[in-house]
């Protein structure tokens, strides 16, 4: 089994931004975008996310898998829940509103009369959801493709996480190829004994239980190996002093500018929402006029 990271150095603008600044921006964006439902805020946020995504210089072929997951999420949240059932609009869109087809409509040929309570407000809310979820997705889908996995430990330490937690992340990244190889060897050994993971016969319970001959040896071997690693680390006095990291991170002037922008975006949204009470859901007149 081949396991590889999706990251690739692309010589892009994103490659030049400090990973700490990228995390700060990503979380500032998430918090800012999720504080508002007004398109006056969501549209600029969406544009910022598009520009940010373009900085990554990723290709559709590479990111297709991530977008398939996002597409499913957007479809279930926006099309199924907001447009068709009206569930997604609960709590944000006020009850009532302008119904598009008050008398329902007839489907030609089969002559079915359908009553569909879709309102203009729900359509606008769906667009707002698209901008909000789309913007958040643009920011977070990019991460696996543009962030060097070797930088995670040093990055999270730099963001203030304790040494031990940052080191755990670093260690986990480094164990992945070893465990993938162990899993592959175990799978081959079990297959030689007649084991079939992909066997389609049997119900759900049998399918899950069929994983055991693979899961048990790999997990137990990993636990036994952990004891040796822990002993070696103890012998080298792990955790007795502040750690240093091979992967060094240095802020550049543009990273400070990005940090300032992230802070401004978040504080600005906070003040607007809680200080001036703006940012709530509303439908612009020009959009209403399209349907009246």
């Amino acid at each position: 089994m081949l396991i590889s990271w999706r990251y690739k150095h692309r010589n892009s603008i994103m490659d030049r931004i400090d990973p700490r600044s990228r995390w700060i921006f990503s979380f500032a964006f998430l918090l800012s975008a999720t504080m508002v439902w007004s398109a006056n805020f969501l549209f600029p946020f969406f544009l910022i996310a598009v520009v940010w995504y373009a900085f990554g210089k990723t290709r559709w072929k590479e990111t297709r898998r991530g977008w398939m997951l996002v597409g499913f999420m957007l479809f279930s949240m926006i099309v199924l829940n907001t447009i068709i059932t009206g569930g997604g609009a609960g709590g944000v869109v006020p009850p009532g509103g302008y119904v598009l087809w008050p008398d329902g409509f007839v489907i030609p040929i089969i002559n079915w009369h359908i009553y569909f309570g879709l309102t203009v407000e729900r359509i606008w809310f769906a667009l707002c959801q698209l901008m909000r979820l789309g913007g958040v997705s643009l920011i977070f889908v990019l991460i696996p493709y543009t962030m060097d996995p070797r930088a995670y430990g040093a990055t999270f330490r730099g963001l203030g996480l304790p040494d031990k937690i940052a080191y755990t992340m670093e260690l986990a990244f480094r164990f992945i190829p070893t465990l993938a190889r162990d899993l592959s060897v175990t799978l081959d050994a079990q297959k030689a004994r007649g084991y079939e993971l992909e066997k389609v016969k049997g119900g759900l319970f049998k399918k899950i239980a069929r994983i055991a001959p693979l899961l048990v040896p790999v997990t137990m071997n990993a636990i036994i190996a952990s004891e040796d690693v822990a002993n070696a680390m103890d012998l080298r006095c792990f955790g007795q002093a502040k750690r240093t990291w091979i992967f060094e991170l240095n802020y550049q002037p543009w990273d400070y500018a990005l940090n300032a922008f992230s802070a401004l975006m978040m504080i600005g949204t906070l003040v607007a929402v809680y200080g001036f009470n703006v940012g709530g859901f509303w439908v612009p007149d020009w959009f209403m006029q399209l349907f009246l």
Binding site: G90, A172, V218, A222
Partner: protein, 184 residues
């Protein structure tokens, strides 16, 4: 001499290594078994690997369980190219943390009482973890309670509970054999 009480919140060298190994194992197994789909439940995958944070929580404590689930899910999403969804990773972490709360009370992992207690806390862990993750969709996506319940919480919880209930006893019995044999 009185025996020193086992602290479940300790995070020393052994816990750092177990959490790292657990996270890597969870990521690799989740990645390897992604092809198993739950029949009739949209895009919800059967993820037998969810038993890893639950088992690591029970065997090595709640912090190890939390990190195994949280970091393991982040790594698995990074490997699969699915992006970074912090609230779902946190939910996975809680699925390891909550079963880990009983880690100090388990002496023999092969004992029926320990297994039953583990199973009970697996159910509570899944409800807590997937509950938090699903509720966060209300905040992020603006979905209502019905949507969150039927589109997120129930499919994810049922699948994870079934996986946990079937695979946890197998891992606990195997681990009991190892601890007895090696005197750990």
């Amino acid at each position: 001499m009185a025996e020193k009480k086992k602290s479940i919140w300790k995070f020393g060298t052994r816990e750092v290594v177990f959490a790292a190994i657990g996270a890597a194992l969870y990521a690799v197994l989740a990645y390897a078994t992604n092809m198993l789909q739950l029949p009739g439940a949209g895009n919800v995958a059967i993820r037998p690997a969810v038993v890893i944070p639950m088992f690591f929580g029970i065997a090595f404590g709640p912090i190890v369980g939390l990190i195994t689930g949280l970091v393991g899910n982040v790594l698995s999403d990074l490997l699969s190219g699915w992006g970074f969804w912090f609230w779902w990773s946190l939910g996975n972490g809680l699925m390891g943390l909550i079963p880990g709360l009983i880690s100090a009370s388990i002496v023999d992992y092969g004992e029926m009482k320990s297994i039953l207690m583990g199973e009970l806390f697996v159910i509570l862990g899944v409800i807590g973890g997937m509950g938090i993750a699903s509720l966060s969709e209300m905040w992020v996506s603006g979905a209502d309670m019905n949507t969150v319940l039927f589109a997120n919480f129930i499919p994810a919880s049922v699948s994870n509970i079934i996986n946990g209930l079937i695979l946890l006893p197998i891992l606990m019995v195997a681990y009991a054999a190892i601890t007895k044999r090696s005197g750990r």
